[in-house]
């Protein structure tokens, strides 16, 4: 293939991630995060929802590795509990973005025409709004809450994904093998599945990985200003909000949820960069 879209076979991509120490570490971190999210209740050192009002704002100790919060709850356990939302939230928003951006991008890239120009204009329009402002506007319609916030973020992400898919599809569709497949009568569905999708998987994967990190940040922002996760559920963003309210009592409490968030975003970014390099895409400058 001549274009930058060298095919992204899962094994090839995984091997290239694991070859580099930085991205291997990042990958390991995400695996641990997934384990925490799934196995949460089995590995909490304490019940994250049990309050111990006699032991508020305790410092880090062997019983409470990261101390306790304003209700005397164990911070380490709450970080683990909140890791569930750190996994679910980006999955929902990127899923919504894919659901909108992928089919439209494929259609626009292959067929052009009205769908292309209308979707392209709409994409320009949505992209002219700052992500958080657009998300705020959509949350204003749907009402606050985690799922609504994540859908809002997904809608805001979809134009970016649409553009990536459209661009990649157009460049693959120009390749001779696609032309020959169509010429010998390959039905559109088959052309899409067999020829187009595997060849746009690489740029798509890069974009999706990076968006996971961004989604986590936007979710945390929305939860921090009270429009995302609602109590008693905990996300790292809502934990930060609580920690911030009590910052005068315990300045350290803003550190653990923040570090968890930074490391997760860093892991997604590192993996995204590494896939981009592995499949020979140029970094966007």
């Amino acid at each position: 293939m001549t274009t930058a879209t060298r095919s992204a076979r899962p094994r090839h991509v995984l091997r290239s991630i694991l070859r580099r120490p930085s991205s291997a570490t990042a990958f390991g971190f995400i695996v641990v995060l997934l384990f925490f999210a799934i196995a949460g209740p089995l590995i909490y050192p304490h019940d994250p929802e049990v309050q111990d009002l006699g032991n508020r704002f305790a410092d880090a100790s062997w019983t409470h590795l990261l101390g306790t919060d304003e209700f005397g709850r164990d911070v380490a356990s709450r970080i683990i509990q909140a890791s569930r939302i750190a996994v679910i939230a980006p999955l929902i928003s990127v899923g919504v973005a894919l659901l909108i951006g992928l089919p439209l991008g494929l259609w626009a890239g292959l067929r052009g025409g009205v769908v292309d120009s209308v979707a392209g204009r709409l994409a320009d329009t949505v992209l002219s709004l700052p992500a958080l402002v657009g998300a705020l506007a959509i949350v204003a319609v749907l009402g606050p809450g985690l799922v609504n916030a994540m859908i809002a973020i997904g809608i805001i992400f979809s134009p970016g994904l649409f553009r990536v898919v459209r661009g990649a599809t157009m460049s693959v569709a120009e390749e001779t093998f696609v032309g020959s497949a169509v010429a010998i009568g390959s039905p559109t569905r088959r052309t899409l599945w067999v020829h187009i999708l595997p060849n746009i998987a690489a740029p798509l994967l890069v974009q999706v990985t990076i968006l996971m990190g961004v989604a986590l940040l936007v979710e945390a922002s929305l939860s921090f200003i009270g429009l995302g996760v609602q109590p008693p559920d905990a996300s790292w963003g809502s934990m930060l909000k609580a920690a911030y309210t009590n910052q005068f009592h315990s300045p350290f409490s803003v550190v653990p949820p923040g570090i968890a968030m930074v490391l997760t975003v860093l892991a997604f970014n590192t993996i995204g960069d590494s896939i981009r390099d592995a499949v020979g895409l140029r970094r966007r400058t």
């Binding site: 204009r121 709409l122 320009d124 329009t125 949505v126 002219s128 709004l129 700052p130 992500a131 958080l132 402002v133 657009g134 705020l136 506007a137 949350v139 204003a140 319609v141 749907l142 606050p144 990190g213 940040l217 945390a220 922002s221 921090f224 200003i225 009270g226 429009l227 930060l240 920690a243 911030y244 910052q247 005068f248 300045p251 350290f252 803003v254 550190v255 923040g258 968030m261 930074v262 975003v265 860093l266 970014n269 590192t270 400058t285």
Partner: protein, 333 residues
């Protein structure tokens, strides 16, 4: 110079002017089209509320009269198209409607809330440009050294760090642990420069660091690229000094990533400032937007969304024009 060549260069300049004027008009038209589409989407926001918008906005405990008042206020009893045209003709005259709660003009409320937000955003851009470009040029000039590696590490971290978390950490260190700077609030410039800047510096830094990190990365890449160019190698071979190289070739070329990154980061800054303001308890556009969403004050939300879109479109236009100014090759694009 022969008269002929003078004539032709004059000629070329005129076509160039025509081309760039054409580009300005085209870009302006594109921007206006986007803004018009944004106006349709913002108008539709109220339309998309599940159920009866007036009842949803009024809340569960509202009286029938209150619901009726909101319905009339939003003109919900009229057909959609008629309502859009009424609303839109107001918008182009700068009338964004009235707040559902205070009954004050949305446009006035936005303009009153804007100063702290504008100041903090501009200050964060300044911090980002100074910090990002300096650090990026150093890293680019010393590729592979420990300086370069440290800069790369910090840049990667800075990009992954949410600005509102950085804001909290800064408050912890510079306001709570050491009482050097105020932890919350904002004062007007009329209170004196030092007083004013003591309130601006922490929020602006928190907001600007990620942009600085992004700028440092791009500037580094650009400097590294410029250093491989033949004209720089020639200049070096001729014995040109490092400072001269930096001034003559590198700073000029670094203007391009600065413009690119600022264009790309405009949206992130405008979104980020909402949350950073919340951390510092500053009542600017951020708190206006958050309250509008919590109270379902739709005219205010619509006004705010339109206002943000106008700013982003304007910044993109400026960025496009700046490209043409920095690099004449782009003018025809």
């Amino acid at each position: 110079m022969s008269p002929g060549s003078a004539h032709s260069s004059f000629h070329v300049r005129w076509t160039e002017v025509a081309v760039s004027a054409g580009m300005v008009i085209r870009r302006l038209g594109g921007g206006l089209l986007v803004l018009w589409l944004v106006s349709i989407l913002t108008f539709l926001l109220v339309q998309l509320i599940p159920g009866d918008p007036a009842e949803v906005i009024a809340g569960e405990n509202a009286t029938v009269a209150e619901v009726a008042r909101i319905r009339a206020e939003l003109g919900l009893d009229k057909p959609v198209l008629e309502r859009y045209f009424e609303w839109f003709s107001g918008v182009i005259q700068g009338d964004l409607g009235n707040s559902l709660f205070t009954n004050r003009s949305v446009a006035d409320t936005i303009i009153e809330a804007a100063p702290p937000t504008v100041v903090i955003t501009l200050a964060s851009i300044m911090i980002a440009v100074v910090l990002g470009v300096t650090v990026g040029v150093f890293a680019g000039l010393t590729q592979g050294s420990w300086v370069d590696r440290t800069v790369s590490t910090f840049a990667t971290l800075g990009i992954a760090m949410p600005s509102f978390w950085l804001a909290m950490v800064l408050v912890s260190v510079f306001a709570l642990a050491n009482p050097w700077l105020p932890a919350t609030g904002y004062v007007d410039f009329s209170e004196g420069f030092w007083e004013w800047s003591s309130y601006v510096i922490l929020p602006a830094t928190a907001l600007g660091v990620a942009t600085a990190a992004e700028l440092a990365r791009h500037t580094r890449g650009c400097v590294a690229d410029v250093l491989t160019r033949p004209y720089v190698r020639t200049a070096r071979a001729r014995g040109a000094s490092g400072t001269w190289l930096v001034r003559r070739h590198i700073v000029r070329n670094a203007a391009i990533p600065v413009v690119t990154v600022l264009g790309l980061q405009a949206g992130r800054l405008l979104g980020g400032v909402i949350v950073v303001e919340a951390v510092f308890g500053i009542s600017g556009l951020g708190s206006l937007a958050i309250n509008a969403v919590l109270q379902r004050n739709y005219p205010m939300i619509q006004g705010y969304v339109l206002f943000s879109a106008v700013i982003v479109v304007a910044i993109n236009l400026i960025v496009d024009l700046a490209y043409g100014w920095i690099n004449p090759k782009v003018r025809t694009a």
